[in-house]
């Protein structure tokens, strides 16, 4: 690619990136003159540049958009939704074409004419959307962009390290000046030199910084497209565009941020009718904001969606084998949320193209932690989810506390330091319990470590008076605290951290190295590593152990939708299966044999909840039938209701109880008896697989604890009657552990028409092996349904 073309690609892409937010703002308020102007400038610039690099197709497209926008600017035409969409389509096409140019590919012919035609004014008169108010007089947006040039990062790094060398040389010179008797007139130019070096250093540091805007500007467009694709409504608020961070950091957090935002729209924000029912605005709100807090940048991604269903999350974790049921029952909320970051766990009800299946949050966390950041999650069912990314301001300069341990100096990242206390202060007591030290700081008791012991260093002259020693209270990566006794605290410094050699990192005790101003190397301690080396448990380890020791936790809850059935009975539907609310007229109801079906747009769904009631009685005063649309990941059914009431949290065990023989479980909600619908039975009865009067029989080995504990509930939920291995009953289906190797012999323990074998290894089985991976819930459910239909 020649240089001119390369510049064109880079420039166009930069403009596109900056334009992302403007497009959406313009769409929301087409009368916004400032936004219109900046979009006009974009297509105008692209058109102009195309002339230089000979790209006639791109030129024609941008020209068409420019013409349309010029008409709007001149007041000959108003900006309506159709025009906005058409312009957006052109801008997208420009982006695609630029991608193709960069990749050296030929962009597929055709399609341009349709795009251009869409820009033409519609035949029908368009309602004017331009308000009568005059355009805003001026705004920061209209400011001229700063002039800039492109330089390779290596060059920048070279200059940066040159500046660092300069600082050290200056310090050395300062020392010599102090020692030797130098003529006074040398001092003044030296001071000037020092000031200049400090200024250059500061400026060089800033060259690495970039406004976070470049990361945020693409979000409004992404949210808009994603929400549209999912049939949802969402709006994103952006704050903190002006926050600056290391440009390398910007690139590292781009993917994690995108993933979290996508998740929020896909899984967080509900469809409009559900939102209305929950008493929320129909348009979901997502807020993405950045702010600086000390040496960290905090990025908050907050949605007002459905929140994380802790119960469902735990169920999935059990099925995925991450925790066992006993552990799950004892988990606190925060511990449950932490499971989201475990590999292979997705809270998605159904796998979508948007968020994928359980590949993501673990990678997101790994990426953030790789750069010394952290990710926090908080969620309130029904109200929304907040994710907070904490990332260091820069990869290279961190504020640190320098301490003396033995007769050596070390640095501790300021971000890990909670407080520094002196033993003599009286706010702190240290007790020895069974050979371990515990520090009591006010009313908290935390483990206490002697730094010199952890590092195996000894001072030449040990301090005789322990009372003079400072104690640093530190927070490790797992969130817990511990106290570290050091020999001396020197002070706070901004340190330029350099990566340490692999052999040093391998000790697990150090995060990097740095040089003091006089050229002495200092090691930066890795706080979590120190905690581990001192025998303290951090993060995952600590969680596991706490789970085993912890007493029973308070009850778990799950969200349900309260509604009144057509029969007037108050019921609760687990939110996990609720997809959305629908309203249909009587014409949408059809009969298939003796079953009722409902047509919703292009879907035909079995209709439940209506039983034998005459249709007229089911309609409300306006002749409308209200439906809950339910999905279990495989099938969809519609459930007719009189009135949807509200979303509530109820005891999770009530749902489990509902899986029993015939009756729905009844719980008290606000003092009123409420029947909890058992969704599995509902699906088993109403799914479009032929309904059956006789329940299918499934044979399960009585001595296989895993099958009894995990598979049996699913089998029963799918409508089977379970028989034990030693009963002579004829069974429709048997489920057995896969013993591996050749063709499975006939089940030795009683007749069954079909056999499902569960294997312990994931991945695709050998040809001819029809076994199912035992954690593949979807495949197992599918097989259960299939066999139930066939039997």
């Amino acid at each position: 690619m020649d240089e001119l073309l390369e510049d064109f690609v880079v420039e166009t892409r930069e403009m596109l990136e900056a334009l992302g937010g403007e497009l959406i703002s313009w769409e929301e308020n087409p009368g916004d003159r400032a936004r219109l102007d900046s979009i006009f400038r974009f297509v105008h610039t692209v058109k102009g540049n195309c002339g230089f690099v000979d790209l006639p197709r791109l030129e024609a497209l941008s020209h068409a958009a420019e013409d349309a926008l010029a008409d709007v600017r001149a007041g000959r035409r108003s900006a309506d939704a159709a025009l906005v969409s058409a312009v957006l389509a052109v801008v997208d096409r420009i982006g695609d074409m630029v991608d193709a140019i960069e990749a050296g590919e030929t962009f597929p012919e055709g399609g341009d004419e349709a795009l251009k035609a869409a820009l033409e004014p519609a035949a029908a008169p368009v309602v004017t959307l331009v308000p009568a108010t005059p355009p805003p007089i001026s705004g920061p947006r209209t400011a001229q962009p700063q002039r800039s040039i492109r330089i390779p990062v290596e060059l920048l790094d070279k200059v940066m390290s040159g500046v660092s060398d300069m600082v050290l040389a200056r310090n050395e010179l300062a020392r010599r000046l102090r020692e030797g008797a130098v003529e006074p007139q040398v001092h003044e130019p030296f001071e000037r030199l020092s000031a200049i070096i400090a200024e250059v250093r500061e400026a060089m540091t800033r060259t690495r910084m970039q406004r976070i805007e470049s990361l945020f500007s693409g979000l409004p467009r992404m949210v808009r497209d994603l929400a549209a694709e999912l049939g949802k409504q969402a709006h994103v608020d952006i704050a903190g565009n002006e926050v600056e961070l290391d440009r390398e950091m910007v690139e590292i957090i781009r993917d994690p941020l995108t993933h979290i935002v996508r998740n929020a729209i896909d899984h967080g924000i509900e469809h409009a009718p559900l939102r209305r029912l929950a008493g929320k605005a129909e348009i979901g709100r997502l807020s993405v904001s950045a702010r600086q807090s000390g040496n960290k940048i905090l990025i908050d991604i907050v949605d007002d969606g459905r929140g994380i269903d802790e119960t469902r999350l735990l169920e999935k974790a059990v099925i995925a084998g991450l925790v066992d049921e006993a552990q799950a029952a004892r988990m606190s909320r925060n511990e449950a949320f932490e499971l989201i970051f475990e590999p292979g766990l997705s809270t998605a009800e159904t796998v979508t193209a948007i968020s994928g299946r359980g590949v993501g949050m673990d990678v997101v966390r790994a990426n953030i932690e790789r750069i010394g950041g952290a990710i926090e999650i908080d969620s309130t069912p029904g109200l929304g989810t907040r994710m907070t990314l904490r990332v260091p301001l820069t990869l290279t300069i961190i504020p640190a506390v320098t301490v003396g341990i033995g007769n050596q100096r070390f640095a501790i990242p300021r971000s890990s330091v909670e407080e520094i206390i002196h033993l003599a202060d009286g706010t702190l007591e240290i007790d020895e319990v069974g050979g371990a030290m515990l520090a009591r700081i006010r009313e908290h008791r935390v483990p206490c470590l002697m730094a010199a012991q952890v590092l195996h260093v000894a001072a030449d002259e040990p301090l005789s008076d322990d009372a003079a020693r400072p104690v640093i209270v530190l927070r490790h990566a797992g969130g817990g605290h511990f106290a570290l006794i050091v020999d001396q605290v020197f002070g706070h410094e901004e340190l330029v951290i350099k990566p340490a050699a692999p052999a040093i990192i391998a000790t697990g005790l150090y995060a990097g190295t740095t040089l003091t101003d006089d050229g002495h190397p200092i090691l930066l301690l890795e706080v979590s590593g120190i905690a581990r080396a001192g025998g303290l448990r951090t993060d995952a380890l600590e969680r596991r152990d706490r789970l085993e020791e912890a007493p029973a936790q308070p009850r778990r809850t799950t969200s349900v939708l309260l509604f009144t059935g057509l029969d007037g009975i108050r019921r609760a539907m687990p939110m996990g299966v609720l997809d959305r609310l629908e309203e249909v007229g009587p014409e949408a109801i059809a009969m298939e044999g003796d079953r009722r079906l409902v047509v919703i747009r292009d879907c035909i769904l079995p209709l439940a909840g209506i039983e034998d009631m005459p249709l007229e009685a089911a309609l409300d005063g306006n002749g409308v039938l209200r439906l809950l649309r339910l999905a279990d990941g495989q099938n969809e059914i519609a459930y007719a209701v009189r009135e949807a009431l509200e979303i509530r949290e109820i005891d999770a065990d009530a749902i489990a109880a509902g899986g029993a023989e015939h009756e729905d479980a009844v719980v008290l909600v606000d003092g009123l008896a409420t029947q909890v619908v058992a969704p599995y039975r509902l699906f088993a009865r109403h799914s479009r697989t032929p309904s059956r009067i006789v329940r299918p029989v499934c044979r399960l080995p009585a001595d296989d604890a895993w099958i009894q504990n995990f598979v049996r509930p699913m089998v029963e939920a799918a409508g089977y009657r379970v028989v034990e291995t030693d009963t002579p009953d004829e069974a429709d289906l048997a489920i057995l552990p896969h013993d591996g190797g050749g063709a499975p012999a006939a089940p030795p323990h009683g007749p069954a028409r079909e056999v499902i074998r569960l294997r312990t290894e994931p991945g695709s089985p050998e040809p001819g092996d029809s076994s199912i991976y035992r954690y593949d819930q979807a495949a197992l459910m599918g097989a259960l349904r299939r066999h139930a239909g066939r039997a």
């Binding site: 390290s161 660092s164 060398d165 600082v167 050290l168 040389a169 033995g406 050596q408 590092l455 195996h456 260093v457 350099k498 990566p499 340490a500 050699a501 692999p502 052999a503 040093i504 391998a506 000790t507 005790l509 150090y510 190295t513 740095t514 040089l515 050229g519 002495h520 190397p521 200092i522 090691l523 080396a533």
Partner: protein, 159 residues
């Protein structure tokens, strides 16, 4: 080892009391260490950290890497000792030396040595070359830096 041409330049040094050669392209510069900061809990062959202008050097004790025990040093702690500055996989190292003697040319490519050598020399050298100063063992700087745990089987490099 085709890249090791007949005219390969060598730095002749004394390490662990023996005269050996380092390939000059491995060596960035030869310095006298000014400061030395120990690294607690580091593997024994990591003698500590030193500074070279704004760079931090990880100091490698060749005697320890070779498992030949403690070497004689200039000053206590290693400061003042001669060292070769080596870049390896993006990190800067200083390889502690007893003495720096000369620069010479290798006359041939390193040849494998079919004799029992002391310590880890078999795994931490490229082989033997003939020079104007007599036969010299060419040290494998990467293996010295990696230390005793990660040594390659002998002859892999020399083959």
């Amino acid at each position: 080892m085709s890249e090791l041409s007949n005219r390969e330049l060598l730095v002749v040094v004394t390490l662990a009391g023996r005269r050996i050669a380092l390939r000059s392209r491995d060596v960035q510069s030869v310095i006298s260490l000014e400061v030395m900061t120990p690294v607690p809990c580091a593997p024994p062959h990591v003698a500590g950290l030193s500074g070279l202008r704004s760079r931090v050097l990880t100091v490698i004790d060749g005697c320890r890497a070779l498992d030949l025990g403690e070497c004689s040093r200039g000053a206590p702690g290693g400061a003042g000792s001669p060292a070769a500055v080596v870049m390896h996989e993006g990190h800067a190292y200083a390889l502690l030396l007893d003495e720096i003697e000369d620069v010479t040319e290798a006359w041939n490519e390193p040849q494998p040595i079919n004799a029992q050598m002391e310590g880890n020399w078999a795994a931490m050298s490229h082989g033997l070359v003939e020079t104007a100063l007599g036969p010299l063992l060419v040290a494998d700087v990467g293996a010295l830096i990696a230390g005793p745990q990660a040594t390659l089987p002998p002859s892999v490099e020399a083959a």
